[in-house]
């Protein structure tokens, strides 16, 4: 075994640099440019762009639907099971409610396991889905657009012919069909007015 001279940091760094001093071929940059050009024009590139645009449009439409089209929750009176005096053959509601009503009518308490299905609905009624001020603003916006006070055409950036297509046709009184149902009042064959 012979004596080994010490390897300094500088000598080591120089050796590493020498080992890595290899250059790419002259065509390398041209090949990268060609590859990038191909990637840019490949269908997957376009589909990616279309996909992104589609996703944004879907989110925007969903938000628009949630803000404008969906009806605001109407306050509904909570359903309460109660006894009904008088002989009523059937009630025009679900079988669970009928059972509860019958039990109440004959003086029995409903079985603890037979939970009325409308209990969830009464809880949901308390949740505020749209803020009252927002709802008012949306209604004002819609009525403004219908009355012609507010013009959304610059926002939508559509031509006159396209705007005519998008115009909302106001509903007139005369368009409403006559109400086919009899007005409530008095005892009928089907039940007693509540």
């Amino acid at each position: 075994m012979r004596e080994v001279e010490p390897l300094t940091d500088a000598a080591l760094d120089r050796e590493i640099a020498d080992a890595l001093s290899i250059d790419p071929s002259p065509e390398f940059a041209a090949r990268v440019r060609q590859r990038v050009r191909l990637e840019r024009h490949s269908p997957s590139w376009h589909w990616g762009a279309f996909g992104a645009v589609g996703a944004i449009a879907a989110v925007a439409l969903t938000a628009l639907y949630a803000a404008v089209v969906r009806p605001t929750p109407r306050p509904s009176s909570s359903l309460v099971a109660r006894s009904i005096s008088g002989a009523i053959p059937t009630l025009p509601i679900g079988p669970g409610i009928v059972r509860i009503a019958e039990n109440a009518a004959i003086g029995k308490s409903p079985a603890p396991t037979a939970r009325p299905f409308y209990s969830h609905a009464s809880r949901m009624d308390t949740a505020v889905l749209v803020d009252e001020r927002e709802a008012r603003a949306i209604r004002e916006l819609i009525s403004g657009v219908v009355n012609g006070r507010i013009d959304l055409a610059p926002l939508l950036n559509v031509s006159a012919s396209e705007r005519a297509f998008l115009d909302v046709i106001p509903i007139r009184e005369s368009d409403a069909p006559p109400n086919p149902w009899p007005s409530p009042g008095g005892t009928t064959e089907t039940g007693v007015p509540q």
């Binding site: 760094d13 990038v36 990637e39 840019r40």
Partner: protein
């Protein structure tokens, strides 16, 4: 010109700007990416393929990588990862350029080749974190601050890794020399 035409021309102008910037990054970083890939693969064509893949991916994300330092850091890390993946998937196929190249060489050239082989063997024996620091220090003479930027770590960490790596390399090389 209609509003739509103006918008479209703006979009294409932005794309043209992006392309011009990407061209600059390509010119200044192509050797860096190639050498990082070469340090792992030790095969010129494979290294070019990997560097090309890295640039193609970089172009796809170029809107987020327009800053020069960020681009180079991202490119180095991506190229390193792609090269490691290629090496793992292709271990048997990859023929090192050093292997079998000694035939017909002069004694001096064969000695240099052997030294280079020993060096790469020592570098390959390092843990990945140390190896990347050593490779980056050997490419384009990066100093510790530049290496810290490229790797997204503290300067002190780079110094510490560099010292450990040098010590291990020295031990490995001197051991190999004394055994010859």
């Amino acid at each position: 010109m209609s509003e739509r035409a103006v918008i479209l021309s703006d979009v294409f102008a932005v794309d043209a700007d992006l392309d011009a910037e990407f061209e600059i990054r390509l010119r200044e970083s192509s050797t860096l990416a190639f050498r990082v890939a070469y340090s792992v693969l030790r095969h010129r064509e494979d290294a070019e393929d990997v560097a090309q893949d890295a640039f193609a991916k970089a172009y796809g994300n170029f809107r987020q990588l327009r800053d020069r330092d960020r681009f180079r850091a991202w490119l180095v890390r991506l190229t390193w990862r792609l090269a490691l993946d290629r090496r793992r998937s292709d271990v048997r196929r990859i023929a090192r350029e050093l292997d079998g190249a000694n035939a017909g060489m002069s004694a001096h050239a064969a000695g240099a080749q052997e030294r280079s082989y020993s060096l790469w063997e020592a570098i390959d024996a390092l843990p990945e974190k140390l190896r990347l620091v050593v490779v980056l220090s050997g490419i384009e003479g990066h100093n510790v601050t530049e290496i810290a930027q490229l790797l997204g770590v503290a300067v002190g960490t780079v110094k510490s890794r560099m010292n450990t790596a040098r010590r291990r390399l020295r031990e490995h090389l001197q051991c190999a020399k004394s055994n010859r």
